[in-house]
């Protein structure tokens, strides 16, 4: 097992904000091209601020800790501020990640950004029809 920082272990053992949001304002789903894992972020936006952030993750310990800390970092932030969460910041916040786990920190920031994109797109378009995001087709 990779050697993880205490912070990673803490977030892995007690991940914050796991779950989905009913009727989210934005959904961002990314796959990890390196190992094939998946992360989905759900956001609620009030007055240009992230009033709720939740995630689901299929991946390694680092990926779960990354999702958890990204959700925590993003919570309550304005959309502009939330966009400034970079993989490097995520890794720093987690007190470092093993080298071969850096790619997992990309996922978190990407998924969050995608959720924000999704929200903005919906704002510009007809909102209701896409309420449930792109996972809808079944």
């Amino acid at each position: 097992m990779p050697i993880y920082s205490e912070k990673v272990m803490e977030h892995f053992m007690n991940p914050r904000n796991v779950g989905e949001i009913d009727n989210p304002d934005g959904v961002g789903e990314v796959g990890n091209p390196v190992c094939g894992d998946m992360m989905t972020f759900y956001i609620k936006v009030d007055d240009n601020h992230l009033s709720d952030v939740k995630f689901k993750t299929f991946g390694c310990g680092a990926a779960i800790a990354v999702s958890s800390i990204v959700s925590e970092m993003a919570m309550g932030k304005s959309l502009e501020e939330a966009r400034k969460i970079t993989p490097a910041l995520v890794a720093e916040e987690l007190e470092g990640l093993p080298k071969n786990k850096y790619h997992c920190s990309n996922l978190g920031a990407q998924a969050l950004n995608k959720a924000i994109d999704d929200y903005l797109k919906k704002q510009g378009k007809e909102v209701k029809s896409r309420r449930r995001g792109k996972n809808e087709k079944e």
Binding site: M1, P2, F12, M13, P15, V18, E20, E29, V34, C35, G36, D37, M38, M39, T40, K56, T57, F58, G59, C60, G61, A63, I64, N100, H103, N135, E138
Partner: protein
């Protein structure tokens, strides 16, 4: 906290009797087997006796055992040394797609040296079909290597049948028996092989000692150049304490083999039955019957191996996984891939390998702690959420 070691495929613990047997050779009997005095004589006699014991474990002759520093070394030695010794006859090598990295990467090195390597596929159980081996061989084939048993999924290969095919075509046949020797009956005569690798830490002996059994009269290029040790084929001062440890472990393995197999198979069946019934969407990997006694390998759907290992470890349970995230190269296990297991399923790879140190209580404990771990990770998994949605709304 309770601690349960279910990673015997990585290494078995060392038996107390083995440690006891080794101690005198770590302390007082420190002679170099090549020295020409009492100390040397004693050490030489000691390793020659051990050679006989280790040979007996696999039905070979004492003179056919070359001690090595590990199973990996034995495999490197066999693949590279036999290919080089045969290269005037041909340049083609055949291996299976699920070989250990020590065989796989040795074959890669041979490719760089100008040899040609063909990988034989396996079926969904990880079995090599002797017919496929035959098909892949040409006039130019000088060496075939197929493992005796796969430690990752437990499948035991039809080595004797493959050997017949290989012999018919006139090539040499090596088998990596590291996961099999000392665990299940292995007899070089019955198998009809020319070379076979084994390692002591797979049957309750020490680490850092293995052996290559090489059929009498088979030419091989020396692995280490130097002195005359191991018939000049593997130079370097012999690791006397480790050799003695391997001897003791081999003796015990031979003596207790059937009772060990019985015990471990029963535990394995209990583990497989309980995990399969307690956890839905669990796939047993490897052959259901033709399987190493202690091997219980699964793919747990919708979740990933490393996160399972971390949560298991927080409960004191040691296991392993072939998921991409657990590998340094971030690639799913080549064994699972060769068996046709799709990447997202292989991500849920989870291997429990039982050993003599395990009891029924250990299995019970595992079956108590594992389901909540799987549940918890599935609650977090977008794949599982999708699956549930499809199940609920799809029909």
């Amino acid at each position: 906290m309770k601690r349960v070691y279910l990673d015997n495929a990585a290494t078995t613990p060392i038996l107390p009797e083995v440690v006891e047997a080794m101690l005198p050779y770590l302390r007082d009997a420190y002679g170099n087997p090549q020295s020409l005095h009492d100390w040397g004589d004693e050490a030489r006699e000691t390793i020659e006796k051990a050679r006989g014991r280790v040979a007996a474990l696999i039905g070979g002759q004492p003179g056919e055992i070359i001690f090595t520093g590990s199973g990996t070394e034995a495999n490197n030695f066999a693949i590279k040394g036999l290919a080089q010794a045969q290269q005037s006859k041909g340049k083609h090598i055949v291996i299976s797609a699920i070989e250990h990295f020590s065989v796989l990467h040795s074959a890669k090195t041979l490719e760089k040296w100008g040899f040609e390597v063909t990988q034989v596929p396996v079926d969904g159980y990880g079995l090599v079909d002797p017919e496929e081996v035959a098909k892949s061989m040409t006039e130019d084939t000088i060496l075939v290597s197929v493992m005796h048993a796969n430690g990752e999924v437990g499948t035991i290969e039809p080595i004797a049948e493959i050997a017949k095919v290989v012999k018919k075509m006139g090539a040499l046949f090596h088998t990596d028996a590291v996961a099999a020797a000392g665990t299940i009956p292995v007899d070089v005569e019955q198998l009809g092989v020319d070379a076979l690798s084994l390692a002591a830490n797979q049957f309750y002996g020490p680490k850092g000692i293995g052996a290559l059994w090489l059929k009498k009269g088979t030419r091989i290029i020396p692995f280490l150049d130097g002195g005359v040790q191991e018939g000049g084929r593997r130079a370097g001062t012999e690791n006397v304490p480790a050799i003695v440890g391997m001897e003791k472990a081999a003796e015990l393995a031979q003596q207790d083999m059937s009772s060990r197999i019985q015990r471990l198979s029963a535990l394995r069946e209990q583990l497989i039955a309980d995990v399969s019934s307690e956890i839905k969407h669990t796939i047993l990997t490897g052959h259901p019957a033709q399987r190493l006694p202690g091997n219980a390998s699964f793919c747990i759907e919708f979740i990933e191996g490393e996160s399972m290992l971390m949560l298991l470890s927080s409960k004191g349970v040691a296991a392993s996984s072939g998921s991409a995230c657990t590998s340094r190269a971030l690639k799913a296990s080549h064994v699972l891939t060769a068996m046709g297991i799709p990447p997202e399923i292989a991500q849920g790879s989870l291997l429990f390998s039982l050993g003599l140190n395990n009891s029924e209580e250990d299995v019970d404990y595992l079956v108590e702690v594992l389901p909540p771990i799987v549940d918890r990770l599935r609650q977090m998994s977008p794949l599982y959420a999708k699956f549930v949605k499809e199940q609920g709304g799809g029909k």
